[in-house]
């Protein structure tokens, strides 16, 4: 292992940072053609209804209205908007437009007009007659409800996943190792507890946007705020029954995604209008639409049982889950399996482990991919229960974890059994610095198990809590990324990647990886990404994959590039390619090689810059473009790890919980750009803290969303949190690019349990339902009295 790096593990300013701060046109809506038709959606006002009639006559009379399209005007092809690989592990249960609407905000009709005001007015003029049906809003009632959310016969799955739409079941999953019931019955100490988590909104600040136009070749061009252009192209081709060669999808800069832009939304309707009218179109969500009609995190009910012997050796874990996927089944199965597969292996020495349950439909805003992706919910149940077990044992909760946690050169059968939608892969853990993370975290937060609570004045109490977490680095054998490098005159390189920078800085860190392998400066790598016409394939930005999967692809591309360079120089000088070496600046004949002195003009070396001009301008019939491609698909998905510690202050009078200090010691392997890795963790922590304390998608009794703006759905401001202190363990994963693992999701996982555990230490009450609002905390404190 080499840690003598010149480009990676170094700070580098985000390459698009200055341009974005200066407000240069960058995001989808900044770039949309001025003549684009403005597209608006007529959306359902009911949670569940059958459309009887749509009267668009008044709207069509309005000057400037181009078209109104309903389910009568569109192809009826069941798709999933999940934005996943192929075959998709989500039910195909969504039509472009349908006669049924399944949640308030579901698409009813599409309006296109010459400007915003006309389009808005037209939406108001469209009269929809509904047969209102009884909505199913409670996931607990899904299986026995008379309401069937998906009565249509066309919905199907691409492989068996326990899909039973008549019972409102989107998918079912069960796994079992050993005899959990028997082992638990023999344990000295057990914990049995039900935890519930709420739906959380992504709340990326840029609302979803897309525009569409025909180019000079009469091909459909989609520009959108998508996290995955290639999957988007494939799904658009599927729903419009169009060969993929006729579609181009690209993304400009994206104002945050967090999984919310992995799904296909507006692209469908921009393409519908452009293909129907031949005209450019654009569609931008209002904030209300983002809340109501994009996706949210799966709401879950988690029943966990843990057991240990007297010494605190964990013997068995049983986790049974009910998950609410809302009106459509995007990511239903895979978020569910991640709930187990990205939490349970933390404690790999158990004799028995069981995980399973169902994912059900309701008439709520659909759930989809969201940072943490099941792992965050599983972690909340597991890490809360671990602290409950520690309390029963009279043991320091950190020590209980230390005794049982996974370590290097260990494995878990879960890795082999549980994949994303199918079987997993065997994996030996080659990097795991949890012990360091735990030790360092204890030191930073000043952890004293005998003094986790302290009174402060004015009826306030302070307390500490902690949790561990793991995540993954891409989906092994499924996620693929690729990269192409091309030498340019003046001796710099173009780096073409399908990977999708959604604001994380991936373009920057991927250039650093290319530069490190080539031996050149990052300044000599010019990045172009995420365009189905112009960049090689990549699955896109999800599953914590970009650094690991695309990073490894870039290393292969760079290795191939060096080979191509050596061969071209060898040919130019009539020597053997294996005698040429490249140091990033010049190509020269190796000392002591048999080619010494054989170069045609007697020189021993040529600079990359000179050679770049030669190969493009000076070599007559031998001139050529030098380019190389590399692809990567992982055999494994090495988990990053974290130890999270917090200190909170609870106001016993009001029930308000404040996070004063959050310490997160992270093992993400080599942080390719430590500043950008740190901000990924800090941002994840704050989203996790928001989910723990107040973020909640709230519906009325009829299913309408009450939390559909930033006043009702509060995301943390800079006044709402104390210190966030992030450090990295020295770690190196041999399978990662220069030792790197993922860092995008791991930060969000620990706050739920760590803060809940601290609240228990503060008040002696165990709250088992998130978020920990002042009302709930106060009621719990009062119930103690």
């Amino acid at each position: 292992m080499s840690t003598q790096f010149t480009q990676v593990k170094h700070e580098r300013a985000k390459i698009d940072g200055k341009g974005l701060i200066l407000g240069r046109p960058a995001y989808t809506d900044d770039l949309a053609p001025k003549d684009a038709l403005v597209v608006k959606l007529v959306r359902s006002t009911h949670a569940f209804a059958k459309i009887k009639k749509i009267d668009a006559s008044k709207a069509l009379e309005l000057p400037g209205v181009e078209c109104v399209l309903t389910h009568h005007d569109v192809p009826r092809v069941p798709i999933t908007r999940a934005g996943q690989g192929h075959p998709e592990p989500s039910p195909k249960d969504k039509f472009l437009l349908d006669e049924y609407v399944r949640y308030p905000g579901d698409e009813v009709a599409v309006v296109a007009a010459v400007d915003e005001a006309t389009a808005r007015q037209a939406v108001e003029l469209i009269k929809v007659e509904y047969e209102v049906l009884t909505p199913l809003l409670d996931m607990e009632a899904a299986e026995t409800s008379d309401t069937v959310v998906h009565p249509e016969p066309e919905a199907y799955t691409m492989f068996p996943m326990g899909f039973e739409p008549k019972k409102n079941i989107a998918a079912t999953y069960d796994m079992n190792i050993g005899d959990v019931d028997k082992v638990l019955s023999e344990c000295d100490y057990t914990v049995e507890r039900r935890y519930t988590t709420q739906a959380q909104a992504h709340a990326a600040l840029e609302p979803h946007a897309a525009y569409c136009y025909y180019d000079l070749h009469s091909r459909v061009n989609i520009v959108s705020s998508t996290q995955n252009p290639f999957h988007t192209r494939r799904i658009l081709g599927e729903v419009f029954e169009m060969p993929l060669r006729n579609i181009r999808v690209s993304k400009p800069r994206i104002g945050g995604g967090f999984g919310g832009k992995q799904q296909i939304h507006l692209e469908l309707y921009a393409m519908l209008v452009t293909t129907k009218t031949g005209k450019s179109s654009k569609v931008v969500m209002s904030r209300k639409e983002v809340f109501e009609s994009s996706f949210a995190r799966h709401k879950m009910r988690l029943d966990i049982r843990l057991g240990s012997d007297k010494e605190g050796n964990l013997k068995a874990i049983d986790l049974q889950v009910l998950s609410d996927t809302g009106a459509y089944g995007e990511h239903a199965l895979t978020v569910f399996t991640n709930c187990g597969s990205k939490s349970l292996p933390l404690y790999n020495k158990v004799e028995a482990v069981r995980f399973g349950g169902k994912i059900v439909y309701t008439n709520r805003t659909p759930a989809g991919a969201y940072r943490g992706y099941g792992a965050i919910q599983g972690n909340y149940a597991l890490e809360s229960a671990m602290s409950e077990l520690a309390h029963k044992l009279g043991m320091d909760p950190a020590v209980l974890r230390e005794k049982n946690m996974i370590a290097e050169n260990e494995t878990s059968d879960i890795f082999r059994i549980m994949g994303e939608g199918g079987e997993g892969v065997e994996m030996m853990i080659e990097s795991c610095k949890l012990q360091y993370c735990l030790d360092r975290g204890r030191k930073m937060i000043d952890w004293n198990p005998k003094k986790l609570r302290s009174e402060v004045k004015d009826g306030k109490v302070r307390a500490k809590g902690m949790a561990l977490a793991m995540q993954g680095s891409g989906i092994p054998l499924i996620d693929m990324g690729s990269a192409t490098l091309e030498l340019q005159d003046d001796g710099f390189f173009k780096l073409l990647i399908g990977a999708t920078d959604i604001g994380t800085g991936s373009d920057t860190i991927l250039a650093q990886i290319a530069a490190e392998e080539l031996g050149v400066s990052s300044d000599d790598i010019v990045v172009y990404s995420s365009d189905t016409d112009r960049t090689p394939f990549d699955v896109g930005a999800y599953a914590s994959s970009t650094t690991y999967v695309t990073g490894n692809a870039i290393i292969r591309a760079a290795q191939n590039m060096k080979k191509v360079l050596r061969e071209a120089v060898a040919e130019k000088f009539g020597v053997d390619a294996e005698d040429i070496e490249f140091n990033g600046r010049e190509l020269r004949i190796k000392d002591g090689s048999k080619s010494i002195g054989k170069m045609k003009d007697g020189t021993q070396s040529i600079t990359l810059k000179e050679f770049s001009y030669d190969t493009l301008y000076h070599e007559g019939a031998n001139m050529k473009t030098l380019a190389a491609t590399g692809s990567f698909s992982g055999h494994v998905s090495p988990p990053p790890y974290m130890a999270g510690f917090c200190e909170i202050e609870v106001d016993l009078e009001t029930g308000k919980v404040e996070v004063l200090d959050y310490v997160a010691v992270t093992d993400c392997g080599t942080p390719i750009n430590p500043n950008l890795a740190r901000i990924q963790v800090e941002g994840g922590l704050l989203q996790g803290i928001g989910m723990t304390l107040h973020e909640d998608v709230v519906l009325s009794s009829s299913g309408k969303m009450l939390s559909n703006n930033f006043m009702q759905y509060k995301i943390p401001s800079r006044e709402d949190v104390g210190k966030l202190r992030v450090e990295f363990a020295e770690s190196y994963d041999p399978t990662g690019p220069f030792g790197a693992k993922s860092v995008g999701e791991i930060g969000i996982d620990t706050p739920l349990a760590a803060i809940s555990n601290a609240l228990y230490n503060a008040t002696g009450v165990r709250l088992t339902s998130l978020p920990l609002t002042p009302a709930k905390v106060l009621a719990a404190i009062e119930s103690q009295k």
Binding site: A13, K14, G23, K288, N675, L676, L686, R718, L724
Partner: protein, 150 residues
């Protein structure tokens, strides 16, 4: 109706409807550095300066800008460029959607209070939301920027 105003030091005459919001008028007139994030005056990305004071252009009627002076981030480009150096050096920038509005509020903060402490920085900028960063890096960058400006 027509409004006449100064945008980034230049006189402009713009056709508007009485109910138009300033953010939409500015974006339609080509000032796409003004972002639109929430429609309810809650997130701060649409911040511009009106007569040197920060306002939320998504909850300001365009007609109110008649006869006034509007500054977008392009109007403080030199200072925003300096600030960008601090922000990017700290690795405090992510998706960038909040950045132009944020840079304008930082400009106003320093103008009103050349030596803000941490609490004052957090308080003044509380209305500029960021969903990516956790705010820590921004705080470090602002603190260093304030020092350098002294």
């Amino acid at each position: 109706m027509t409004i006449e105003l100064k945008i980034n030091g230049r006189p402009r005459r713009l056709e508007i409807e009485p109910g138009d919001m300033l953010v939409d008028v500015l974006r339609n007139a080509g000032y796409v550095e003004v972002k639109k994030g929430c429609d309810t005056g809650s997130c701060g990305v649409c911040t511009v300066l009106m007569n040197e004071a920060p306002i939320l252009s998504c909850s300001t009627l365009a007609v109110k800008a008649d006869g006034q002076e509007i500054i977008t981030v392009k109007g403080i480009e030199k200072e925003a460029t300096e600030f960008a150096d601090f922000l990017t050096a700290e690795g405090a920038d992510q998706c960038g959607f909040c950045a132009p509005g944020f840079a304008l509020t930082v400009h106003s903060l320093i103008k009103e209070n050349p030596s803000p402490n941490e609490e004052e920085i957090r308080h003044y900028l509380a209305g500029n939301l960021c969903r990516c960063s956790g705010y820590e890096g921004q705080l470090r960058a602002i603190t260093k920027f304030v020092e350098a400006k002294k």
